[in-house]
Symmetry: C2
Subunit: 215 residues, 2 copies
């Protein structure tokens, strides 16, 4: 085991440090954020920072950096207050990654990467038809993180579209069964293999493996 101190970290070349530091958080979620502007131009952006904030109300957050490739996503959310989050699966992971290319505002990542927009009544933002688990959100708050100029975008979940066959009796969704992928670092994609679900941990006894359907 090697120890890198703060000086050694800051002396790493920029790109190497980006790869290194991006590997430290562990596996990341792989999601496509779908938006549309007031003129009807759609956008799709790969986001690896979607994080669960709470179930009641149902809130989800993600980090964006303004003035980067995700700027159109941010502008569209600010215009319409709506967006969708679409889990990336092993049928579309390469197309999903391709959405991170710096396309012009007039180009839609849907047509450029061959993914299909899908709409429901009451939601202007496009879903990704090829995603097996997707939901729409209404913007609640954008929190500026002054430490590094990023923004924490928080939305409330308004609609969920999912294959019911992978929803277990206790509410758990078997996202492995719909081939949702995980990301490590900036560019590595992974399928998963379940070790087990574990019972709710209590101080007096060791947690046990439980069947996929819960207890």
């Amino acid at each position: 085991m090697t120890h890198f101190n703060e000086n050694q970290l800051s002396e790493m070349p920029t790109r190497q440090r980006a790869q290194f530091i991006n590997s430290l958080s562990g596996f990341k979620s792989a999601n496509l954020v779908g938006t549309i502007d007031n003129a009807g131009q759609t956008n799709l952006a790969m986001i690896s920072s979607v994080v669960h904030l709470g179930a009641s109300p149902a809130l989800m957050g993600f980090i964006v950096r303004p003035n980067t490739v995700t700027r159109h996503t941010l502008e569209n959310i600010e215009q319409t207050n709506q967006y969708t989050i679409n889990q990336v699966n092993s049928s579309i992971w390469q197309q999903a990654h391709q959405t991170s290319a710096r396309y012009d505002k007039s180009q839609s990542e849907f047509s450029e990467t061959g993914l299909s927009p899908f709409y429901i009544a009451g939601v202007s933002a496009p879903f990704v038809a090829e995603s097996e688990l997707k939901y729409s959100l209404e913007l609640q708050q954008i929190i500026p993180i002054e430490l590094n100029g990023t923004l924490f975008v928080i939305g409330k979940i308004t609609n969920v579209i999912c294959n019911t066959s992978v929803i277990k009796q206790d509410g758990y969704i078997d996202i492995e069964a719909i081939d949702t992928v995980a990301i490590s670092g900036l560019d590595s994609y992974h399928q998963t293999q379940r070790l087990s679900r574990l019972s709710y941990a209590k101080p007096e006894s060791m947690t046990q493996q439980i069947p996929l359907d819960g207890m």
Copy 2:
């Protein structure tokens, strides 16, 4: 595919909704946060919301809810300004989950779950010896999220301890090779199998699979 609208989501029983909504963000990182209070009492907490904020400065964030099982973690970070984040691997995933039991403040999750504290000079907070990739942080900011009473804890990475054999030439760390696990929902643990790394996406050509060592 079934469509759940906002009314249907809010009518789900509380526990079922928690399982359901927790499944929506995709795969989550599995990390143990190590802390110590001023009296020398250690604490270890399973956190699935660690998220990369930026590489320069190297910032990491996670979400905590005050007055829950993670309250001691929060109190200790506020007392000492220091904490460690330790990736959970497939040798310690059950012990890691067990740290989420509601132990008393006088009980250390290290001894209760059989994990070993590990210290380095200059960092008061304990690392997890059994973790193959771990780092210390200095608290930078705690942002209250008023929408649901959670807190976003942001720290700067000060030291990284890692097996150099899994650090690739371009800085990417092969966290699959050190058996880091991922979480889905509240209690499902997963090993991973790499699909591939992908090249930096450009508008004029489709991203390509690249070898593990980068290009």
